[in-house]
Amino acid sequence: MNKNLRTTNSNFIDQTSRISFKFDGKTLYGFKGDTLASALLANDIHLVGRSFKYHRPRGIMTCGSEEPNAIVQLGNDLSMTEPNTRATEIELYEGLEATSQNCWPSVNFDIGAINNFLSPFLPAAFYYKTFMWPASFWKKYEYFIRKSAGLGKSPTKPDKDIYDHRYLHCDVLIVGGGISGIIAAKIAAQNNLNTVLLDDKNNLGGTTIFQDNECFKINNSYSNEWLKKEIESLNSFKNLTIKKRTTLAAYHSYNYLLARENLTDHLSLDEKKNKIRQRLWKIRAKKVIIASGAMERPLIFNNNDRPGIILSTSIKKYIDYYGVKCGQKISLFTNNDTAYETAISLNKSGVSVNSVIDIRDKSNSAIVKEAEKLGIKIYWKHTVVNTSGYKRINSIELMKLSDDGTAVVENKTKEECDCLGISGGWTPRVHLFTQSGGKLKFIDKDNIFLPDKSVSEQISIGSCNGDFELDDVIKNSIKSIKNFLNINSSDYENLKINCSKETDKKNIWLLPSNKPLGKTKPFLDFQNDSTAKDVKLALREGFKSIEHVKRYTTTGMGTDQGKLSNMHALGIIAETAEVKMSELGTTTFRPPYTPLTFGAIVGRNVGEFFDITRRTPIHEWHVEQKAEFENVGQWKRAWYYPKSKETMYEAVQRESKAARDSAGILDASTLGKIDIQGSDASEFLNRVYTNAWSKLEIGKCRYGLMLNEDGMVYDDGVTTRLGENHYIMTTTTGGAANVLSKLEDYLQTEWPELDVYLTSVTDNYATVSICGPNSKKILSKVIPDLDLSDKEFPHMSFKNALINNIKCRVMRISFTGEHSYEINIQSNYGKSLWEKCIEAGNEFNITPYGTEAMHLLRAEKGFIIAGQDTDGTMTPVDLQMDWIISKKKYDFIGKRSLYRSDTIREDRKQLVGLLTDDPKEVLEEGAQIVAEAKKKPVEMLGHVTSSYFSPNLNKSIALAVVVNGKKLKGQKMFVPMENKTINVTITDTVFLDKENKRLNA
């Protein structure tokens, strides 16, 4: 462990500031600028986790977001711990604690690894095949499967972190801060466009920023030096916003993109406190430039998953960028020129390179010649056939490839190594392009999918568009950017670029071995342990669609979504099934690109802001009186007002009784109110309500029922005629917004000829409702100069009045069946008016009642609540409200539907009253009603919609809907419950004061 794996030549690591962290309980050290992965590698730790199915030891394989293996549990706090984080993306901070996942008792000794030896018995879809039979055993299987499945542990307590959302609108959004993204940002910014550049790393520059090689020069500077200056020059633009540590998560239609910015994940535990952890940016860009780069591919050969097997460019980044040696005796295995750059970097840093094993016959490129000049040994036309070393690779075996590449020939050569760099070429990151609806094309020459047809305002540039050589990247990017942004010239017109050009290409999706395929383990999906064998098995078993093969074998289904080796799976399927890659297509790339925390998705909409709440103008009084509140839509409504130690039942009984015995007061401010003006207002009401309105006198109120066009009851309420062309309509609390929108719809689309204007005034008025035999006396105290005689102010009429010089509207209407008044006053005087009414009513024991007592009181009178006693399938006839349907009117919304064959059926469910044989027994709302208690299968005839114990009648009452209920009055029925059957009798819906005497009492 005392090996010195650090070099001193990195400009990106601050070796003066040491950081301590814990991995699997052990304290280790790294430096500022490290990722968890680079710090672990510097401590010679490769083994960081176990694979999902076989629990094979797995090590760090990449240096970025595509990492399949090095996923760790971060933190151990029950509310903050985060599973499945990629060690390659976690920036090291003081106090970081991480643990391995998917292993027990430890990553070094994992009992689950027995699966590795059982692997011949665990083929693709093993679980599907095995646990099918017998069906009744599934519950037992499930218990064990759930226990052993899953990666990492979810936090069990609420997240203490703070998250945030922001909207952002820009002219140009550039995704990716590699060399092409930097060029795009500068061109856009120089042309005065409002530009945003995102990069998921903490430093810009992509892979070019550590391309320190004399084969690659721009204007006679090393490419990394040139790029560094370009990045510095971006600071001068005020119209350019650069967001680092920001990952583009999703690309939706119309250039709406979501990006997650990490604000504190890289800070020490102390520095994180009270800061926003992550911010989700909701971006709308006029134009999008995708410069997301490419991912290096692995190679698929026997035992290609051992710790110490790392992508070649990642090894290069660890040495050149982080100053970390991934090993001391490194072999490289490649099918392209990339690995030679790594070989040269390692050589320069004094790491011995055993050899480069290249499956190609030859290459004459500058970079290969440079490597040869340094004396690096190259095995042309060779492949690795096996690797050894359980927890860390210790040797490889290589053999010569046959001419056609399908077999190996001659003798095995063994080479000892502690690290193997692999490179299978490059896969353009086209995920975002396809998320936006773009279609891909397959390029046979490079074996890659590239953006083809796009549906939004966007381009892809650089290696995500298939340009892999430095000169192509720069020149083609510039050309595309200028074209896309309609710009004639840029700073970059006469760049002199020198670079090595790849001369030879060769690709073998599944490399041959000296053993038959069945005896090898060539891994495709490292996280889910699916091998080339599994994919071939799926094809033999008849799966053809790539989407099916994916789900059957789980290839590409892990937290990494198979970024690394999906292409190989496709290649092997295409070869085996003998179809073209272009015909096979790809699986769908869905957002998010990398996993998002729930916190980032939810933002600040937690706790107090989980949902919107609406308050009435009298809300504070209810709070002061310790009312319990009920959510009605977004409204907070006073539910009941318990006196010390009262239960809800007791409070509601008391409130309901007081309202009929003397006086009750209700906050009805939540009712929807729509102001209607215009010369056709009466005609309009005729069309939207079932009853007639033309003859309603000014100053009078009328109850109206509104239907949907299908004839079903939609909403109800009282509308008052304030003037010749002026009405005020009330709607139900929950229906207010929908009613207004529906009425506007008819006015704008079906009846534009009507001169009618609707304005919502719901929030403009506080509505205080006073009911009960003493309501008149109380009102006369509040408004002494108003004549309350039945002659002057009868039921269903309205008066304008002044209370202490404040205008108000008083309606004599009733939802309880009692003599009652509703006072509407501008909201800011609502609370004061309420208090005044309470004061005036004190001598009459005026009792504030909540929504529950209101529901009870109206049920005693058989008044419906739209939405409780109706459910969108009840016509007025079903509700026994035939009286409200005008026979004279030619048309109104829903009229024609009232005599469709279905709505005139006699055996529809109809609203009835229910009385229990035992008057003390209160039915449950929603309980089913049957005619024969013992018949099986039981025929359900209806259900209870409202049910209460009535303190005024001293018995249980209920409303219900029952098939053919109208004709069943007096009939006995049953309500079967879990432990008993309740006997009930069908009755009329009005339980109290059938003659309506109390209205004028």
């Binding site: 939706h252 239609s253 119309y254 250039n255 709406y256 709308r284 609806g437 549906v455 066009e709 299908d710 929108s741 506007e744 719809d745 704008q748 689309t749 079906e750 534009p752 030619y890 048309d891 009229k895 024609r896 539907s897 469709r900 064959s901």
Partner: protein, 91 residues
């Protein structure tokens, strides 16, 4: 998430709008004279096209105006918006 060009207010985020189904279904002027089948045709039958579709939208959280839209349902491209009462600009 669409960016919708309200014919009255200009380009706005989709969250300000609500969708209202197929456009140009005219409420019959004399419903009482229709058979059950004819009424049901108006009431229930709607097209569900893959391709160019004419739709009703409402700028619910803006000017509250209803308008029509020509949208390709296969790729969500909005070809045009036009006011209520106007003829679709694309056949």
């Amino acid at each position: 998430m669409f960016l919708i060009n309200c014919p009255y207010c200009g380009e706005r985020d989709q969250s300000e709008f609500s969708a209202g189904g197929e456009a140009h279904i005219v409420r019959p002027k004399q419903p009482t004279e229709l058979s059950d089948d004819q009424w049901a045709e108006f009431l229930f039958m709607r097209k569900n096209i893959k391709g160019i579709q004419l739709e009703r939208w409402n700028h619910a959280h803006g000017c509250r105006k209803w308008f029509n839209m020509v949208r390709d349902t296969s790729n969500d491209k909005i070809h045009a918006v036009y006011k209520m009462g106007e003829k679709p600009p694309i056949k």
